[in-house]
C-alpha cells in the first residue's frame, strides 16, 4: 500500500502543468500537499523495501534497478520539495518532472519484480490458457501435516501438480520441445531428470532442483520458467508439498488434467412445469436462472419475433404485408405456426443454411485446387440434403463414407508438390472430421503430442489411417519416425475398425460408429452449433471445443438427447429452439466482442448479431433492388431447376467477391465455424464507395423514382420494406430534407445507403 501515494507526485505534476499554462497559482496549495504526501511515502517505501529485499525473497537485476531507482526518486522528490519550500520555482519544476520519470521507471521494474516481466502483456486478449479440469476440483488441503494421504488425496494432489506443470512447463519440457533434456510430462521422465541431473528428490523439497529453480526471482538467469508467467506462491507451495509427501504419481491410467466432456449421451430429467413455463428448454433455463439469480424478462413483440425467425430460418427479411398479418393474427399459437410455415419452405430454408454449411464443410464455388483436380465441391449434394431435411445421422454418414456427390469433404484440398506430413489429405480428413463433427481439435496432435489436451500423435495417425489407402508413417514435427500407428477410432468405446478392410469399408464402419446414439458427443456438438447460430452464442464456446464447460450442462444434454429421440431432425431442433420462451427473450449485448466468449459469460437472452454477408445482400435485394444478376448464380454446380427455386440471385449462390469478403464471407480454404460480428474499416470502405453496392443503389434508384413519385410514398415504402415499419414523423422529416418533394435518383441512392447502414437494419436484435 505504501507505493500508491507516490503516484500522487504524477498528479502534482499534472496540476503544476495546468497552473503553468494558465500562469496562475490557484492550485499551489493542493500541489504542495500532494508533494508532501508523495515524498513521505517514497521515504517509507524505500525503508520498507530495503527490509523486504534483505529478507531475500527477491533478487536479480530488476531488484537492483528498482532499489536504486526508488532511492533516487525519493531523493529527487525531497529536493523538489525543498525547492518548492524555498520558492525556487524553475528548479523545483525541473526536479518534479525528473522525479515523475523516476517514479514510472522504478514502478515498472517494481512491477516486473512482483508480476514477472510480462505483467502488462499477460492481461491482454489472446493470452488465455486452456481450460483445465483442476480448476474445478476443490482446493487441496495443504494443512494435514504428518498424516498419510488417502489414495484419493494422492490422485487429487497429483492432478493439481500435473496441471501446474502442464500450464507452466510442458511447452519447453515435453514431447515437442525437451530443453535441457528434461521432460516433466511423465513420472519416469521427471524422476530421471535432465542433462544436469535429478530435479526431484522425493520427501526433500528443499533439496529438489525443481523447487529451487521455480523459486528464483524473475530475471535471475537460472529462474524457471524463463518465459511467460511466474508460478504463483500457491503453485509453488503445492509442488513443495507434493515432493514433501513423496512426489507420488499413481500407477495405471491417469486421470486427465484437462476437462474432458463425457462421450455418452445423457437425458436429464425435465424440471416440473412452473408458472407459464412448460417447455423443457425454458424449464432448464429457469433452473439456470435461479441458480445464477437471474430473472425472466418479457418476451419480444411480434414485429421483432417475425424479423428474427425470418432471418434465422430462411435468411430473408419478412415482407411488410406478412408482418402486418402476423401482428393482427390473434391465434395464441401464431408464433409456432409461423415457425412451422417457415421451416416448411424447404428451398428457402436450404438456401439460407447453405452458407452456414458451406463454411463448416469448407465447400465453395471457387477456390484453390478445383482447376488441378485437387478438390471437389459438394454443392449439389449439400443443397439436396438440406432441402429434404436429411436426418443428421445420414448427413454425417454420407460425408464420412461418401458417394461421388459428397466426397469433397473428406478428400480435402490437395496442393501439388511435397507438403507437410500433418497436411496430407488423410490428416486433413482426420482433423476436419474431428473438428466439425466432434468439436475436437486434432491439429496439435497431428504434428506432436498435444500439450493442450491428452491427444497423442499416435492417436491422430491411427485416426487418419482410417482414411488412408496405405498406412501413413508417423511423422513428428514433419520428421519421419519409422513408426506406424495402425487404424483406430479416437474413442475406442465406439467400435473397432477392421484394420485390413478396404478403405471404402473402413469408412463405412467409421461412419456407422460415429453416428451411433451412444456417441453423445456428435449430437451435442451439432445442437450446440445450431444453438449458437440462433442465439448468437453457443452453450459451449468456442463451438469447436466441446470439452469446454457448457453454461448449462442439462440444457445441452437434453437438446442432444431430444434431437436423437426425434430422429436427428434438424428442423425439429430449430423449431424447438425458436418456439421456446428463451429464444424470445429480448436480445442482449456486451461491451466488447471478447465478452461473448468469456468463461464467466452468463446467458440472459440471444446475443445481438450482425446480418451475415449473405443476409445483408439478400436484404438489400428484397427491400430495394437485386444485388446480383441471375447470371451470377453458380448454375453449373447445382441442379437445373435451381433458377426456379431461387426467388432471386441470393448471395449464398454466387462466387465470393470483394463485397461479400469484406462483409465476412470466409475464404473457404479451411473449416470455418463462426463469423465475426464486428465491423471494420475495410468493410466500411466497401460499403461507402465499393462498386458492387454503389451500382446496386444506382440501378435501384432509377426504378424507385418512377415507381414512387413523391417522397412520402417512397420513404414509407422503403421503411416498410427495409425495417418492417412505417417511418416515424421525425424520421420522415429527416428523410424529406434530403429527398425534397420530388425525389431525385441521387437523393434516393443516399437515403437507401443511409438506411442500409443504420444498426436497426444491420443487426438481428
Amino acid at each position: 500500500m505504501v507505493h500508491f501515494p507516490i503516484s500522487l507526485l504524477c498528479v502534482a505534476l499534472l496540476l503544476e502543468i495546468i497552473d503553468w499554462k494558465k500562469k496562475s497559482d490557484k492550485l499551489r496549495a493542493a500541489i504542495s500537499i500532494l508533494i508532501w504526501i508523495g515524498t513521505i511515502s517514497a521515504v517509507v517505501a524505500v525503508g520498507l523495501g530495503w527490509l523486504l529485499a534483505s529478507e531475500g525473497e527477491y533478487g536479480g537485476d530488476s531488484l537492483e534497478i528498482h532499489r536504486w531507482a526508488g532511492i533516487t526518486t525519493m531523493l529527487l522528490a525531497s529536493l523538489a520539495l525543498i525547492c518548492l519550500q524555498r520558492n525556487k520555482l524553475p528548479l523545483y519544476r525541473t526536479l518534479l518532472i525528473i522525479t515523475v520519470f523516476g517514479v514510472s521507471f522504478a514502478g515498472h521494474y517494481g512491477a516486473m519484480l512482483t508480476h514477472g516481466d510480462d505483467y502488462l502483456s499477460s492481461v491482454l486478449p489472446f493470452n488465455q490458457t486452456p481450460q483445465l479440469a483442476a480448476s474445478e476440483t476443490p482446493d487441496f488441503l495443504l494443512a494435514n501435516n504428518g498424516q498419510t494421504l488417502t489414495p484419493k488425496q494422492v490422485e487429487d494432489l497429483n492432478i493439481e501438480v500435473r496441471t501446474i506443470l502442464a500450464h507452466n512447463c510442458y511447452s519447453c519440457h515435453g514431447e515437442a520441445k525437451t530443453k535441457g533434456d528434461l521432460r516433466l510430462d511423465s513420472k519416469e521422465a521427471m524422476m530421471k531428470g535432465g542433462k544436469d541431473g535429478v530435479v526431484v528428490i522425493p520427501n526433500h523439497a528443499d533439496k529438489s532442483e525443481l523447487i529451487r529453480r521455480i523459486s528464483l526471482p524473475a530475471g535471475h538467469k537460472e529462474a524457471m520458467p524463463t518465459k511467460g508467467k511466474r508460478l504463483t506462491e500457491k503453485e509453488i507451495t503445492i509442488l513443495r508439498y507434493w515432493i514433501e509427501k513423496g512426489a507420488q504419481w499413481p500407477e495405471g491410467k491417469m486421470k486427465s488434467i484437462y476437462r474432458v466432456a463425457a462421450l455418452e449421451p445423457r437425458t436429464p430429467a425435465i424440471p416440473a412445469a412452473t408458472g407459464d413455463l412448460t417447455k423443457p428448454i425454458d424449464l432448464f433455463v429457469n433452473n439456470y436462472f435461479q441458480k445464477n439469480k437471474l430473472a425472466w424478462t418479457k418476451v419480444v413483440d411480434d414485429r421483432i419475433y417475425i424479423r428474427r425467425v425470418y432471418l434465422d430460418i430462411i435468411g430473408l427479411l419478412p415482407p411488410p404485408e406478412k408482418i402486418d398479418a402476423f401482428v393482427q393474427d390473434s391465434r395464441p399459437d401464431k408464433r409456432e405456426i409461423l415457425a412451422r410455415e417457415l421451416l416448411n419452405r424447404n428451398d428457402d430454408y436450404a438456401q439460407h443454411w447453405m452458407s452456414f454449411w458451406n463454411d463448416v464443410l469448407r465447400n465453395d464455388y471457387s477456390g484453390t485446387g478445383y482447376i488441378t483436380g485437387g478438390r471437389f465441391d459438394i454443392t449439389k449434394w449439400l443443397y439436396t440434403s438440406l432441402q429434404v431435411n436429411k436426418p443428421y445421422n445420414w448427413f454425417v454418414k454420407e460425408l464420412i463414407s461418401p458417394g461421388k456427390g459428397s466426397e469433397g469433404f473428406i478428400k480435402g484440398i490437395k496442393w501439388r508438390g511435397t507438403i507437410n506430413s500433418s497436411q496430407r489429405t488423410e490428416m486433413q480428413a482426420a482433423q476436419n472430421v474431428s473438428q466439425v463433427f466432434l468439436g475436437l481439435n486434432l491439429k496439435c496432435a497431428s504434428c506432436h503430442d498435444s500439450f493442450i489436451s491428452d491427444w497423442k500423435l499416435e492417436q491422430s495417425y491411427a485416426f487418419a489411417n482410417i482414411f488412408a489407402d496405405t498406412l501413413l508413417e508417423i511423422n513428428r514435427c514433419d520428421k519421419p519416425t519409422g513408426k506406424m500407428a495402425g487404424r483406430k477410432i479416437l474413442f475406442p468405446e465406439l467400435g473397432e475398425i477392421s484394420v485390413d478392410a478396404s478403405t471404402e469399408k473402413r469408412l463405412r464402419q467409421l461412419a456407422d460408429f460415429l453416428v451411433q446414439p451412444k456417441d453423445g458427443r456428435l449430437y451435442r456438438t451439432v445442437v450446440n452449433r445450431i444453438w449458437a447460430q440462433l442465439l448468437g452464442r453457443g452453450i459451449v464456446e468456442p463451438v469447436d471445443m466441446m470439452d469446454n464447460a457448457p453454461w448449462s450442462e442439462d440444457l445441452l444434454d437434453w437438446l442432444a438427447s431430444d434431437f436423437a429421440a426425434n430422429g436427428y431432425d434438424m428442423k425439429k431442433l430449430i423449431f424447438t429452439i425458436v418456439t421456446s420462451k428463451t429464444y424470445q427473450l429480448p436480445s442482449t449485448s456486451v461491451k466488447e466482442a471478447g465478452d461473448i466468449m468469456a468463461n464467466n459469460y452468463k446467458f440472459t437472452g440471444m446475443v445481438r448479431r450482425r446480418l451475415s454477408a449473405e443476409q445483408f445482400s439478400d436484404a438489400i435485394s428484397t427491400s430495394f433492388n437485386p444485388m446480383y444478376a441471375d447470371s451470377a448464380i453458380v448454375i453449373k454446380l447445382l441442379t437445373e431447376d435451381i433458377k426456379k427455386k431461387l426467388p432471386f440471385a441470393r448471395a449464398g449462390f454466387v462466387k465470393n467477391d470483394p463485397f461479400l469478403t469484406a462483409l465476412g464471407r470466409p475464404n473457404r480454404e479451411t473449416v470455418s465455424t463462426s463469423r465475426t460480428s464486428q465491423a471494420n474499416l475495410l468493410q466500411a470502405l466497401e460499403l461507402t464507395n465499393g462498386e458492387k453496392f454503389t451500382e446496386t443503389l444506382k440501378r435501384g434508384a432509377k426504378e424507385w423514382r418512377i415507381k414512387y413519385p413523391t417522397s412520402d410514398l417512397l420513404v414509407t415504402a422503403l421503411y416498410r420494406n427495409a425495417l418492417g415499419r412505417a417511418p416515424m414523423p421525425k424520421e420522415l422529416v429527416v428523410a424529406k430534407k434530403i429527398l425534397g418533394a420530388n425525389p431525385s435518383e441521387e437523393s434516393i441512392q443516399d437515403l437507401v445507403w443511409a438506411i442500409a447502414l443504420i444498426p436497426e437494419f444491420q443487426l438481428i436484435y
Binding site: H3, L124, S366, W415, R416, E592, L685, T694, I738
Partner: protein, 475 residues
C-alpha cells in the same frame, strides 16, 4: 506483503479494464501495439514497401550476373549462364545485368542479398512458393495463415489512422491462378480488419478512396450527415453502448474521414509533377512505385507493389526469356531507382524498408534444386536452335537475389554468394524466408516470438517462432 500483492493485482486488472474500454472506442491494434512494443526490440523502421517480382526472377539475369554468352543458333544450352552483359554498379567490384544500371547507381543506399534459398517443396509451383514467401508458412495450412502485411498491420496498426495499414498495389484477381493468389492475400485468422486494401491499378488509386464516382464532396457530406441523423432517430438507438453498434459507427466514421482527408489526395497520381510522373511511368508497376512513394510520405505502414503474377507472363518466362527480360528490366529499373532516390531525399528512407524479392530464381537447365530430381515444368532443348529457347526458363530455388534498402538496413553492403559455374547455387550465407521475415520484423520492433493463440495453439509470425533475424543485414 499480501496487501501489496492485492494492490498490484488490482492495478493489473484495472489496467486491463482500461485497455478494454479504450479498445472499445479506438482501433484495437494501436493499443495492443503500444504495449507490445515494451517487449520488442528497438525499431529502426516503421514502414515497409515490398517490391514483388512475381513469377520467378532469374538471379543470373538481374542482380547476380555470371559469364555472358551471346546467342548463336545451334549452341549448347549448358554453356549459357547469363544472356546479358554485366554492367558495373556504384559498388566496387559488384556488377548487375545490363538494363539495371539505374538501380546499380543507388546500391550505396542498400544491401544486395545474393543467397536467398527458397523452400524445398518438391514439385515447383509459383503459387505455393508465393504463399510461402508472403506468409512464411507452406500451404496448405489448417489455420488460415496471415500475410506479412497483416501481421504488421495487426502489431503496429496504421501509421496514419486514415491510411489503411496494409495496401496491396498491382495484383488483379481476375487472372489465372487467382484462387491460389487469394489464399495468401489475406489476414487469415487475424481477421478481415487486418486484410489488404487492394488497388489493382495504381492509376485508379483515387477511386478507392474517394466518394463513389459521380458524387461530389458536398453530397458525400450530406449523405453522411443524413446517416448520423437517422441513427440518432432510430428507435433501436435504445441499444446504448452495444459493441456492434459502436464498431459499425466507428468504422463508418473512419471511412468517412479517410475519404475526406487531405491524405487521400496522395492516391491521386494526376497531381504528381509531370517530370517525376514520367520517370515512374513505365507501366502499372512503375506507377505502383510512385503510389507507394506518395503513400509512404503520408504515413502508410505496409505496401506491396507487384509486377503482377499471371501464369506465363511477367517474370514467369517459359520461353523467350532473354527478349522478355529486356522489357521487364525496363519496367522496374527507372521507377525503383527513383523510388529509392525520392525516399532518400525526403528523409523517409531512414524509417522505411524497401524490399525487392521474388518467389524463386530461374536457370536454363536446372529445375528446382541441383541435387534433387523434380518434375521438369518447362521443355528446354539441350541445343538451342531458336532464339525463343535463349533464356532462363526453368525454376531454380537454390540461389536467388534480393535487395533491401533503408530503415536500418546496411548501406552499400553485399551478403551471400552463388557459384560462378552451373549450378549457380548459394555457396555462402544462405538465407531463408523465416530469416527474411524476422529481419524485417526486428527492424520494425516486432518481437521475434510474437504469437496468437488460435484454437488453443500458439501461432507465431514464423513457424514455431523459430525464425531468427540476420543481424549482419542491419546497421
Amino acid at each position: 506483503m499480501n496487501k501489496n500483492w492485492n494492490r498490484r493485482e488490482f492495478l493489473q486488472r484495472a489496467s486491463a479494464a482500461t485497455m478494454a474500454a479504450l479498445a472499445a472506442g479506438a482501433p484495437v491494434s494501436n493499443i495492443l501495439s503500444s504495449c507490445k512494443g515494451l517487449g520488442g526490440p528497438d525499431s529502426s523502421a516503421d514502414t515497409v514497401i515490398l517490391l514483388w517480382m512475381a513469377g520467378g526472377m532469374a538471379h543470373t539475369e538481374t542482380f547476380d550476373p555470371k559469364l555472358y554468352t551471346p546467342y548463336a543458333t545451334g549452341m549448347e544450352g549448358n554453356r549459357v549462364l547469363s544472356t546479358f552483359k554485366s554492367v558495373p554498379t556504384i559498388l566496387d567490384g559488384i556488377h548487375f545485368s545490363e538494363g539495371l544500371e539505374s538501380i546499380g547507381k543507388v546500391m550505396d543506399k542498400g544491401t544486395l542479398i545474393r543467397s536467398y534459398v527458397a523452400a524445398d517443396m518438391g514439385h515447383i509451383l509459383h503459387s505455393r512458393h508465393q504463399y510461402h514467401w508472403h506468409t512464411c508458412y507452406e500451404p496448405p495450412q489448417t489455420v488460415a495463415a496471415p500475410h506479412m502485411g497483416s501481421w504488421i498491420a495487426k502489431e503496429l496498426g496504421p501509421k496514419n489512422p486514415v491510411i489503411p495499414a496494409f495496401i496491396d498495389i498491382g495484383q488483379r484477381f481476375t487472372v489465372g491462378e487467382a484462387e491460389e493468389l487469394k489464399a495468401f492475400h489475406t489476414a487469415g485468422f487475424l481477421g478481415n480488419e487486418f486484410g489488404p486494401f487492394f488497388i489493382p491499378d495504381p492509376s485508379q488509386g483515387l477511386e478507392s478512396v474517394r466518394p463513389p464516382v459521380g458524387m461530389d464532396a458536398k453530397r458525400f457530406e450530406r449523405r453522411n450527415q443524413l446517416y448520423n441523423e437517422l441513427i440518432n432517430n432510430s428507435p433501436v438507438g435504445e441499444f446504448g453502448s452495444d459493441y456492434q453498434r459502436e464498431s459499425l459507427k466507428r468504422s463508418m466514421e473512419q471511412a468517412y474521414t479517410l475519404l475526406n482527408s487531405p491524405e487521400s489526395k496522395a492516391f491521386d497520381l494526376s497531381t504528381e509533377p509531370k517530370e517525376s510522373y514520367n520517370i515512374y511511368n513505365t507501366g502499372r508497376f512503375g506507377l505502383g512505385c510512385l503510389l507507394a512513394r506518395r503513400l509512404t510520405e503520408q504515413g502508410a505502414r505496409f505496401i506491396s507493389v507487384t509486377t503482377e503474377y499471371e501464369p506465363f507472363k511477367g517474370w514467369d518466362t517459359h520461353e523467350n526469356g532473354h527478349t522478355r527480360l529486356k522489357d521487364m528490366k525496363k519496367q522496374i529499373d527507372g521507377p525503383i531507382a527513383q523510388l529509392i532516390k525520392d525516399l532518400d531525399k525526403s528523409g523517409h528512407l531512414d524509417r522505411t524498408i524497401v524490399v525487392l524479392a521474388s518467389e524463386f530464381s530461374r536457370d536454363m537447365m536446372v529445375e528446382g534444386r541441383p541435387d534433387q530430381k523434380v518434375q521438369e515444368q518447362v521443355n528446354q532443348p539441350d541445343i538451342l536452335n531458336d532464339l525463343k529457347f535463349y533464356g532462363m526458363h526453368r525454376h531454380f530455388t537454390d540461389g536467388c537475389s534480393m535487395l533491401m534498402f533503408g530503415g536500418g538496413i546496411k548501406k552499400g553492403f553485399v551478403y551471400g554468394k552463388t557459384a560462378d559455374e552451373r549450378p549457380c547455387k548459394t555457396i555462402e550465407n544462405p538465407i531463408k524466408i523465416d530469416q527474411v521475415h524476422q529481419t524485417i520484423y526486428q527492424a520494425l520492433g516486432i518481437s521475434a516470438d510474437t504469437q496468437y493463440e488460435v484454437e488453443k495453439r500458439p501461432f507465431y509470425t514464423t513457424p514455431d517462432g523459430k525464425g531468427k533475424a540476420v543481424p549482419e543485414l542491419l546497421v
